[in-house]
Structure formats: C-alpha cells, structure tokens
Symmetry: C2
Subunit: 138 residues, 2 copies
C-alpha cells in the first residue's frame, strides 16, 4: 500500500463535514493483474441530488520539487484510475483533491484550464487549514 | 532542466541508427508560462513515407520502486506534452520511448493495452543493449 498523502486526513475530514460517509480508505481495486489503491472511497449521505452518489478521491499535495512533474503524475493517475474504474466500478466518479493554493498556482492557469478540459479532470478543491471543501469542479 | 533519463543516450543512438537527425536535446517548449522539456526532438532523413517527419521523444526508464507509479507518471507526461505540442508545434508527433522489458511487463499486459488504446499512446520500443529500435507503436 503506498504512503498516505500529506493532506489525506484533511481531505477525509472535509468530506465528512460535507456529508460524506468514508467507505474505503484506501479504495483497493484489483484489475488486470495490478493492484490500484485510490486514496478514498465515499458515499453521500445527504442532498436530494447526490444522495447515494459514490466517489473515489485521489489526494495530491504537490509537495515535490517540480510542481509540473507533480502535475503530470497527478494527471496520469487520474486518467488511469478513471479507466480502471470505468471497467471495475462504473458508477463511481473519480475526483482529484487539491489544496486551494495548488489550484490557484497550477490548475487555474491557462495551461491548467486547458488540461482540465482536454483530460476531463474532476477536482475537489479544499482549504487545508479549515479542512473544508471550497469547490467541486466537474 | 530536468535530469536526463538513464536510457537517454541509448535512445538517441537508436534513433540515429534508424535514420533520424537529432534536432533538439532536449526539446524546450515555453507554453502558458511553463517550461516543458521533452527529452529529444528529431527529424527523419530517410524513407519515402517519413522523410521530413518531425517527432518528439520522451524517454522513460521505469527505474522507480513502483512500476505502476512510473506508468502513471509516464502517461501523464505523454498526454500533457501531446496537449502542449498540439498548440505549440502541431506537426510534431510525440512518442514515449520504453525498453523491451518494460514494454513486455507493463504495456503488453491487458491493462497496458487498454491504456494504450484509451489514451492513444504512441510508443517507440527499444533494445537498450543493442541500442536499436525494435517497434513503433502508433
């Protein structure tokens, strides 16, 4: 099992506050002879629209030396996990959890926006100090 | 400029042997306020069909502790570089260079083949000892 991301607990707390039940920590999927571990699996407990909605959340801190390398790695994980989920758990929707400051410095840039659109990324933006979700980007 | 990949020189030699002129080492693209460095840029000198064809090659050794993490990172680099090239240098075709043993253990698996198709990966498979290209996967 891979090491937990630095913001793992903060995102978990933010989801619980937002009305989600954490069902998997991590979400383990065995597929094609490989073991995939997505950080969290959760199910919504409240909200008329999203009740029963199942999500998978990969938490990325972007704590590496090159934020662009982290960006590539996060995009690769996202598109591969989405591919595996589409076969193994097609109802579950995948999100990449990134802190506000990462969203602003990378994802909100021209290149970041282009990548979000081209790769159809879904983001959960969180405030790491408040441990709250500030934005869902679909 | 990022550190050169372990197999950088082997791929460069394999390309030269195959009739390519190395035009960039690395290929630097400035886009949207970020600097992207793709390992190699090359142009074909021979071959009726491919004469003048321009390529960009990202070399991946997969020398990390988890080959699946390396796989995610390589896929992320590939789809992001392809996105940037489509805007900044649309005639140039991007390839991921991987050694035979990596191709067999990862890309030739069921999951690997599914990822190649879903992400439309292009591969240049090389023999790292012979320093020769064994397969182009389009």
């Amino acid at each position: 099992m891979p090491a937990r991301d630095f913001f793992h607990q903060a995102v978990k707390n933010a989801l619980i506050r937002d009305g989600w039940l954490i069902t998997h920590d991590p979400l383990h999927i065995e597929f094609g002879g490989f073991d995939f571990f997505i950080d969290l699996g959760a199910e919504s407990l409240i909200g008329a629209i999203r009740e029963g909605k199942q999500i998978a959340v990969e938490v990325k801190s972007f704590a590496g030396a090159s934020s662009l390398s982290d960006f590539h790695a996060a995009v690769g994980q996202f598109v591969n996990y989405r591919l595996v989920l589409s076969k193994a758990d097609p109802e579950r929707v995948l999100y990449l959890a990134v802190a506000e400051f990462v969203y602003k410095s990378l994802f909100a840039t021209g290149f970041g926006q282009m990548a979000i659109e081209a790769h159809r990324l879904r983001l959960l933006v969180f405030d790491e100090e408040q441990e709250s979700i500030t934005q869902w980007i679909e």
